[in-house]
């Protein structure tokens, strides 16, 4: 269902969402934004994209799974294990770029299946994602089109806003999205034919502005298999410093660690905690015995690219990369995923 919302009415919409925790991109420093809780602010008209993707809210860096404690009564010691679930509070995230929402749609697949991840789904189900279509690529490294996304894709979103200058075309995509609009329905009007025409024009222009391209991504995906033993991985990973930037800032990366964090040793008290982890750290795959299936940077770079462009495709039929370009822009040594995959394409068998 499509509606029109005047830009100056946006703060009223936000005000009507008092029962939700509302997140919106807030400017951190020069030209960098991150999602923060707001209660009335307007959208920054210069907003490009956040450094940390919305996965920070749907799949937080720290999640407590359970609390454990031992109590002693005389010689009797009892062990208590208590499940800890995320707080049940509805949330809205404004300003979600279509690529980041598409990443949430990909994470949905990972956290369901044979086993459901309750922590992810409680947060996902209670959060409404309000997307903002891109009229121009937020980053010079955007390549969403190459990985079957688009500046106005709808996967993963509940509502999609398209900026028409002084107003937004508001498209509700799910029941959750509809509910959000209903919360302030008197601020929404029906669109006119010229509004819809303008959206189409913006979409056509936006697509043309995307400069970077990963050619034949599906072909690259097939060629990857044959490149497992290629010396390419050693060459391309030589400058890798094995930090976690590419994976932590990736909207669709989901590797995590589980650790027991002890607050008190005796009597025992602590939490079992999930934290983000990355396949790029040298010890990620190390066994207790010291054996490490991926001891070299080459194998770890290969793992990241294979996971995103081959393994995930084999399992779910989709690329795990949404083309947001963060890993390219923020890698301290300029390792460029498109450049590496182009090489696989050229030399692939």
């Amino acid at each position: 269902m499509e509606k029109i919302l005047l830009k100056k009415a946006l703060p009223q919409w936000v005000k009507a969402l008092a029962s939700y925790t509302v997140y919106s991109p807030k400017k951190d420093k020069e030209e960098s934004w991150n999602y923060a809780e707001i209660d009335h602010e307007d959208f920054d008209p210069n907003f490009l994209n956040t450094t940390l993707p919305p996965k920070k809210i749907l799949f937080p860096q720290k999640e407590i799974f359970l609390e454990f404690s031992k109590t002693a009564e005389g010689s009797q010691e009892t062990l208590e294990v208590k499940e800890v679930l995320p707080e049940k509070k509805a949330a809205v995230i404004f300003g979600v770029r279509p690529c980041d929402a598409r990443a949430a749609w990909l994470l949905d697949k990972v956290f369901s299946g044979e086993f459901t991840d309750p922590y992810y789904w409680i947060r996902r189900n209670q959060t409404t994602l309000v997307g903002l279509a891109c009229d121009a690529p937020p980053s010079e490294n955007c390549f969403c089109l190459s990985v079957e996304g688009s500046p106005f894709s709808e996967e993963g979103l509940d509502v999609l806003l398209t900026d028409l200058g002084d107003r937004y075309l508001v498209k509700s995509l799910t029941e959750k999205g509809e509910k959000l609009i209903q919360a302030a329905k008197h601020h929404f009007h029906d669109p006119k034919p010229e509004d819809r025409k303008k959206v189409k024009a913006i979409q056509a222009e936006s697509v043309k502005k995307i400069k970077r391209q990963l050619k034949d991504a599906r072909a690259v995906s097939s060629k990857l298999k044959g490149s497992f033993e290629s010396p390419l991985w050693d060459e391309e990973s030589m400058s890798c410093i094995r930090c976690g930037i590419c994976t932590y800032l990736c909207p669709s990366c989901h590797c995590f660690d589980i650790n027991d964090e002890v607050e008190s040793a005796s009597p025992l008290k602590g939490n079992r905690v999930r934290t983000w982890d990355t396949c790029q750290f040298p010890d990620f795959t190390m066994h207790s015995s010291g054996h490490n299936p991926r001891p070299e940077k080459a194998s770890r770079l290969r793992q990241r690219l294979f996971h995103k462009f081959q393994y995930f495709v084999e399992t779910y039929g989709q690329f795990q990369c949404v083309g947001c370009g963060r890993c390219i822009s923020l890698c301290p040594v300029g390792i460029d995923i498109i450049k590496v995959l182009d090489k696989v394409n050229k030399h692939g068998s």
């Binding site: 951190d28 420093k29 020069e30 030209e31 960098s32 991150n34 450094t51 940390l52 860096q61 720290k62 010079e140 490294n141 060459e235 030589m238 400058s239 410093i241 094995r242 930090c243 976690g244 930037i245 932590y248 800032l249 660690d257 650790n259 964090e261 905690v273 934290t275 983000w276 990355t278 750290f281 040298p282 010890d283 190390m286 207790s288 015995s289 010291g290 390219i328 923020l330 301290p332 040594v333 300029g334 460029d336 498109i338 450049k339």
Partner: protein, 343 residues
């Protein structure tokens, strides 16, 4: 003016004669104008090397990788590697030599002088260009950067877009080298520790709030540590998950390893990580600024290290990374060292 051409002949010769394994230098990155680290193995690829104000990286970081690589080989190739260094980077090599992490014969140092300039701050540059995309950045003859864009050339005074650390530069040309290009006139900064004056002036409570706000943002990606040449420990004390496990490490040793901090990015853990790292770099950090540049969340990490650099100078008269023959600060003492903090 330092020119890469002055070094290319030597670089080609070293590779052709097999005198070095490869050369670590700067090449143009995939966006077409910003430099990135490159590893040149063949003499014909030497032409890919560049030297311009976008060469921000401290390439000495890769000497640590080289040592790790040699450590894994059964019969290591003991030839040196060639490396392009700026003044600041060369001080990092001095520290690695002082600590005997590498030998002088492990590196063939090709130096470039920044003369009266330095490298650009990418964010200041982006702000200056206000949306225009550069295709090249050069240093002009009149203390200006010449930025080429689609709309033509813009000239910007160097001081406006220089990296912050370059404004406090103590070594505008390499202090150690085998061959160098560019002028060797020393430039002394007016305020060598000017950048920390503002935070130093804060009250303890204000300072605590400042750092709490900044460090709460930390996502422990460890980019700051990973990019630093001096953070070369195989097992980092503030990393609760890594452990250098050998075939003879016992189950007891593994189970008794102390977790100094948890993986959770809580305030307390983030503070300990950054404070301990800063202290471990006291008297070793040469302010290449890479930690702050690499940080994806713009945490002003330089301030921490700069403060300790100042302490080293004021308490012990120690200047980091100038004299290879000088022992490392924390590995020696003089009878004249101050003792007022020993109670």
């Amino acid at each position: 003016m330092a020119k890469i051409e002055d070094l290319k002949e030597e670089a080609k010769k070293l590779l052709r004669e097999g005198k070095v394994k490869y050369i670590i230098g700067y090449g143009v990155g995939s966006n077409g104008w910003m430099a990135n680290p490159v590893f040149v193995k063949k003499p014909e690829d030497v032409d890919a090397l560049v030297w311009d104000p976008t060469c921000v990286h401290n390439l000495t970081r890769f000497l640590v990788d080289e040592k790790r690589r040699k450590g894994k080989e059964k019969q290591p190739d003991t030839r040196p590697v060639g490396i392009i260094v700026k003044g600041c980077d060369s001080r990092a090599i001095v520290v690695l030599l002082q600590e005997k992490f590498i030998d002088r014969k492990d590196v063939y140092i090709l130096g470039v002088s920044c003369e009266k300039a330095g490298v650009v701050d990418e964010k200041k540059l982006a702000k200056k260009l206000a949306g225009k995309k550069p295709s090249q950045i050069e240093l002009g003859d009149k203390d200006q950067f010449i930025i080429s864009t689609a709309e033509g050339k813009t000239e910007v005074p160097v001081a406006e877009i220089l990296a912050e650390r370059c404004l406090e530069c103590k070594a505008n040309f390499p202090v150690i080298f085998d061959l160098m290009s560019g002028d060797k006139t020393k430039r002394t900064p007016e305020k060598p520790f000017g950048s920390i004056e503002q935070t130093e002036a804060l009250s303890p409570e204000e300072r605590w709030n400042f750092w709490k706000t900044e460090l709460d943002k930390c996502i422990r990606c460890y980019a700051c540590r990973s990019v630093c040449p001096m953070c070369y420990c195989d097992e980092c004390v503030v990393d609760s998950i890594n452990m250098a496990v050998a075939a003879d490490t016992t189950a007891e040793e593994k189970s008794e390893k102390i977790k100094w901090i948890q993986r959770s990015p809580e305030s307390s853990e983030n503070f300990v990580y950054h404070m301990v790292r800063a202290i471990h770099l006291g008297g070793r950090c040469i302010d290449c600024g890479e930690c702050e540049r690499a940080c994806p969340l713009d945490i002003p990490l330089r301030f921490l290290n700069k403060k300790l650099e100042k302490e080293a100078k004021e308490l012990f008269g120690y200047e980091v990374g100038f004299d290879v023959s000088q022992p490392a600060l924390i590995s020696c003492f003089k009878d004249s060292d101050p003792e007022d903090f020993i109670r």
